[in-house]
């Protein structure tokens, strides 16, 4: 064997090893949302008082490979009736026609359309958010970290409730219940 062919053989081996290594890394492929470890909450202001609420029941699908983030996707179905707006008074009203109209629109949905890596395990996820039959484009920063075998995705973004007609009639007025609602999520996904 000549030294040239030896070199090329080593190069081929190195390439093979690198391919294998990258393949091993990409084997962390999150595909299942662990709902009981995930949380979907929100904050808003009522007469300037900060209020905290959450959705207790939601499900979703996740396909995310940290090595190929742009190929990932996620979609979530949120059971509107599982909302807790932070006060018993509000919980008695929030499912009603002027608010979420849960009888006619029982599910809110988010479907991702693109995932852009921002570096440092941060991503910009864009998608379509449907609430009360209205679909709008939203985007949110998401941070990713591995937690054992699972992946944890966290982020927050703001929506305006009036864009989705959440709070009709006298509630359109934003001086009592603010228009801006901060949505926070902590999603835990498992491989398989």
């Amino acid at each position: 064997m000549t030294s040239t062919s030896l070199r090329s053989a080593f190069a081929a081996l190195a390439l093979l090893a690198a391919t294998l290594a990258s393949h091993t890394a990409s084997a962390v492929d999150y595909t299942r949302l662990v709902t009981d470890k995930s949380a979907l909450s929100f904050t808003y202001k009522q007469m300037n008082a900060p209020m905290e609420g959450s959705f207790k029941r939601f499900k979703g699908t996740i396909a995310f490979d940290p090595a190929q983030p742009a190929k990932g996707s996620a979609s979530f179905d949120i059971e509107v009736a599982s909302i807790d707006v932070g006060s018993p008074d509000g919980n008695g009203e929030i499912g009603g026609k002027q608010w979420f109209n849960a009888a006619q629109h029982p599910t809110a949905r988010f479907v991702s359309s693109s995932i852009k890596p921002l570096g440092n395990n941060r991503f910009e996820v864009a998608g379509k958010l449907t609430i009360k039959g209205k679909t709008l484009d939203v985007s949110t920063p998401v941070t990713y970290r591995a937690d054992g075998a699972n992946g944890v995705f966290e982020g927050a973004f703001a929506i305006k409730r009036n864009d989705f007609a959440i709070g009709e009639g006298p509630w359109v007025d934003t001086s009592i219940v603010a228009n801006e609602v901060q949505i926070k999520f902590r999603l835990v996904a498992a491989p398989k």
Binding site: A49, P88, I176, V177
Partner: protein, 186 residues
């Protein structure tokens, strides 16, 4: 009988009198608003009135602390001579209970609000700390307590007003005029 010394006729200071009526009117207004708003259907106005009621409660609490400090520093005029012992005791204890209730009712409302998950932001600017975590059951218990204390206070206020009128109309003494100087007879 020796006429009372002029200084003893209206020994409440102008500050004490002003604070008395300010707190009195504030209590009646805040109490009425409390009853009105709890019966309202859920609406922006209801949430607004709840906030106003809480701001009024905090303001009253501050005024009551000021009143009590003033009273402890300056004292209050003595009961008219010749007033039976049981009336003196009744007056003394009614006032003590009134002060106690005026101080505890706003606190019970504040705690109830925290337990129900709605922080109190004084005038929409100054956040009061939430001493209790959100707990609906505790919130409901505190709401019942807030209501019971208010009924107790309402009963004492009725007694307080009735006694003042009795002093003025039946006993024809200066007790009411000490707080309402324009009623002074001489």
């Amino acid at each position: 009988m020796v006429p009372p010394h002029p200084l003893h006729r209206s020994p409440y200071t102008r500050t004490a009198i002003s604070l008395h009526w300010l707190v009195g009117l504030g209590l009646v207004g805040t109490f009425a608003l409390g009853f009105y708003m709890t019966g309202m259907p859920f609406s922006p106005a209801k949430l607004q009135y709840f906030s106003w009621h809480k701001w009024a409660g905090v303001t009253l609490w501050l005024l009551i602390v000021a009143r009590l400090s003033w009273r402890l520093a300056k004292g209050a005029p003595a009961a008219p001579a010749g007033m039976p012992g049981w009336q003196r005791a009744a007056s003394e204890w009614t006032h003590r209970l009134l002060y106690l209730l005026m101080l505890t009712i706003p606190v019970s409302g504040w705690l109830m609000s925290s337990a129900k998950g709605v922080p109190t932001i004084y005038f929409g600017v100054l956040p009061l700390p939430d001493l209790l975590a959100r707990d609906n059951e505790l919130g409901n218990s505190l709401a019942s307590l807030h209501l019971a204390l208010n009924y107790g206070m309402a009963g004492l206020v009725v007694l307080h007003v009735a006694a003042a009128l009795k002093h003025h109309v039946i006993d024809r003494d200066e007790v009411l005029a000490r707080m309402l100087p324009f009623l002074r007879r001489t």
